[in-house]
Symmetry: D2
Subunit: 227 residues, 4 copies
C-alpha cells in the first residue's frame, strides 16, 4: 500500500488539454513537485494515461490515473486497467468523474479492486445524495462537483456552499473514514480556504491550474489556502 | 401517490420474451391478477413498455415499467421517460436492472423524479455493497440479484443466502425505510419462503414465471410461499 | 411486407415532448391521418413506444417506432425490440437518430432484421460520409440531419444545402435503391419544396410539427411543399 | 504523414494481457522489431496506451494505439485522444475493434481526424456488410473479424473463408484504395498464407502471439506465411 493520502490535499486533474501532454505537461508536473516540496503542501497530480510513465519518473509527489475501465487484464482492446496504471507508477485513481461516469456496480468493483491492489481512490459525485451513496462503497476520498459549475468561473464554494457542507455531513454519517473534497470552478487560495472551512479536506481542480496563465503564481496561491 | 407497495410482494419482470407480448402477455397478466385477487397475495407485474397500456386496462394489480431513461420529456428520440410510463398507467418502475445498468447519478435522478411524480421504485443491485449504496438513494425497494444466477436454475436463496442476509442488514443500517427483495433463479414457493426467512420482503423474478410450462401452477406455488 | 414507403414523404418524429403522448398525441395523429387522406400526401408518424398501440388503432397512415434496441426477444429488461414494435402495429422504424446513435454493427443488424420481419427502415446520418456508409447497409431510407441544426430555426435546406445534395449523390452511387430524406430545422412547405429540389425524397421533422402552435396550418403548409 | 503502411502486413494487437505490459511487453516488442528487420516482413504492433512511450523508444517498426476516444483535446477526463497517441509516438490506430465498438458517426470522425493529423487507421468490422459500410469512410485498412471467432482456436480463414473473400470484394467495389486484413483465431503461417490467398493484405491478431508459449517461433512461422 502506498503512503495514505495526506490531507488537506490539492488534487489536480490534468484532463486532456493540449498543455496536459508532452513538454508542457512535464513542466507543470515538475512545478507541482517543487511547490509541494518547498511548501509541504500535499499535492496529487492526474496526468493523461499516455503521460503517466514519463511524469512519475520526474516527480516525488503522488501521480494518479484519471480513470480506469472496470475490467480485469485480458482480452480487451483499448481499455485502461488499474494494473496498467499501477505498472507505470500510479498510486491512485479518480473514479466516476462527471466526464467519465460509471455504472454503480462498476464503481463498487473499481474501489474494491484498487484497494486490493494498494491504490488510492477518489470517487466523484454530482450532489450530496450521490456522495452519500458513494461513501457506502468505501473509497479513500469523495469529490463532490456540481457538473454545471465544472470548468466555469465561479467556485462551488461560493456558488453552492451547501452542497459541500451537506456532502461532508452525509458522508461522515455513512462512513466516517471517507474524506470529502470539493471541486468545480476552484481557482484560488481563497476557494481552497473556504472549502476547508466548509469541512472539506481539500479540492479537486483542473482548468484552474492547467489553463492558468501564470501556473507558478496560481499554485502558490492555492497552496496558501491550505494553511 | 399510488397505494404503498404491499409487502411481502412478488414482482414479475416480463422482460421481452416472445411470451411477454401480445395475447400471451395479456393472458399471463390476467392470470396474475386473478391469483392475486383470490389469494390476497401482493403481485406487481412489469410488462414491456409497448404493452403497458393494454395490460393495465385489464388488471387491478399494480403494473410497473421495466426501466426508464434518465431524461425529462422533450427533444429525445426513442427514449422512455417516467412520464410516458405514468401516462399509460404504470405505478412504479424497475431501475438499474442488471440488463439495463445505469450510472449512479442517473439512478439518483430517477429515484428522486419518480418519487416527485408519485411512482414507486425498485432499484436492482448486484451485491450487498451496491445494495447499501443504493439504499442511500431512498427507493421504495432494493432487489439484490447476483448477475451470474439470473435466468439460471439455482435460486439465490440456496446458492448465496448470505448475499440476501447481508443486503437486508446493510440496507436497514443505511435506510430502514427501504425494503429488500431478492432475485435470480427464483422459481418456487420454497424459494419465496426462504427469501422471507432471510429477511427479504419478497422476490423479483422473470423467466421462472414467464417461461414456465404451467404458469397457473407456478404462480400458485410461488404465492403459497408468501404465507 | 407492408406497402412500400410512398415518396415523396413527410416523416414526423414525435420525440417525447409532453404533447407527444396522451390525448394531445392522439389528436396530432388523427390530424396527420386526415390531412394525408385529403391531400394524398404520404405522411409517416413516429410516436413514442408506449403510445404506438393507441395511435395505430386510430389512423390509416403508417406508424413507425422511433428506435429499437439491437437485440432479439428474450431475457432483456427495458429493451424495445423490433418484434415489440411490430406487435403493436408499427410498419417501420427510425435507426441511429442523432439522439439515439448506434454502433455500426448494430445498425447493420437492425436493418437486416427489420427487412426480414417486413418492416421499413430509415437510418439517420449526420453528414454525407456517414450517409454513404449507411447506404451500404441497404435501408429503405436515409435521413441526413446535421446535429447542430436539429431543433433549431434554420432549415438544413437553407443552412447547408450542400450536405443534402452530396448525400443524395453519394447514396445513389453506393446504392441507388436507397432514397434520401433531409431533416433539421425543417418547418415549412418552402423547406420541403427546397428539399425535393435538392434531390431528397422528403423530410424528417419533429419540433417543427409537434411544437407548432397551429398544427393544422403547419401540416397543410408542409404538405403543400410536396406538390 | 508517416510512411504508408507496407503490405502485406501482420498487425499485432497486444490487448491488455498481463504479458502486454511492463518488461514482458517490452521484450515482445523488441522481438517483433528484430524479426521484422531480419525478415523484411511488415509488422505493426499495438501496445496498451500507457506503454506506448516506452515501446516506441525501443523499436523501429510502426507502433499504433489500440483505440482513441472520438473527442478533441480539452476538458475531458480519462479519455485517450488521437493527439495523445501521436505525442507518444503512435503512427496509427485501430478503430472500432469488437471489444471497443463505436457509433458510426464517431468512426467517421476518427478516420477523418487521424488522416488530417497524419496517422494511419485500421477500422475493424464484424462482417462483410459492415466492411462495405466502413470502406465508404476511407480508412487505410479494414480488418474483418467475426466476433464469435476472436480469441478462439479456429482461424477465420478456415472457419469462414467466405467472409474474407466477400469483404475483399465489397470493399474493393466501394473504395479500391482500402486494403483488407482478416482476423480472429489466426495463429500460424498457414493461416496467414490462406488469408493472402483469399485476397487479404495481411492479418490482425492478438492472443495468437501475446499468449503464445514460444513467441519467437510463433512470429517466425507467421512471418513465413507472408512469403
Amino acid at each position: 500500500m502506498p503512503m495514505p493520502v495526506s490531507t488537506p490535499v490539492i488534487v489536480i486533474n490534468y484532463k486532456v488539454y493540449p498543455g496536459s501532454i508532452g513538454p508542457e505537461g512535464l513542466t507543470l508536473s515538475r512545478l507541482c513537485d517543487e511547490i509541494s516540496r518547498k511548501s509541504g503542501a500535499s499535492i496529487v497530480i492526474c496526468p493523461p494515461a499516455t503521460e503517466l510513465f514519463c511524469v512519475q519518473k520526474e516527480v516525488g509527489i503522488p501521480v494518479w490515473g484519471q480513470a480506469a475501465d472496470p475490467v480485469e487484464p485480458g482480452g480487451r482492446t483499448g481499455h485502461v486497467t488499474i494494473e496498467m496504471l499501477q505498472n507505470v507508477g500510479a498510486e491512485g485513481l479518480l473514479i466516476n468523474h462527471s466526464e467519465r461516469r460509471l455504472q454503480i456496480a462498476d464503481i463498487e468493483w473499481l474501489v474494491a479492486r484498487a484497494r486490493r491492489l494498494g491504490l488510492h481512490t477518489c470517487v466523484c459525485a454530482n450532489n450530496s445524495a450521490v456522495s452519500r451513496a458513494c461513501a457506502a462503497l468505501g473509497p479513500d476520498l469523495i469529490a463532490v462537483e456540481p457538473p454545471e459549475l465544472i470548468g466555469g468561473d465561479i467556485s462551488v464554494t461560493s456558488a453552492n456552499p451547501d452542497i459541500v457542507r451537506s456532502s461532508v455531513d452525509e458522508v461522515r454519517r455513512v462512513n466516517p473514514d471517507v474524506r470529502v473534497l470539493c471541486g468545480a470552478g476552484v481557482k484560488t487560495g481563497k476557494d481552497v480556504r473556504k472549502a476547508i472551512e466548509l469541512g472539506a479536506q481539500g479540492v479537486l481542480l483542473a482548468s484552474g491550474v492547467v489553463s492558468a496563465k501564470d501556473k507558478r503564481a496560481t499554485l502558490m496561491d492555492l497552496v496558501g489556502g491550505l494553511q
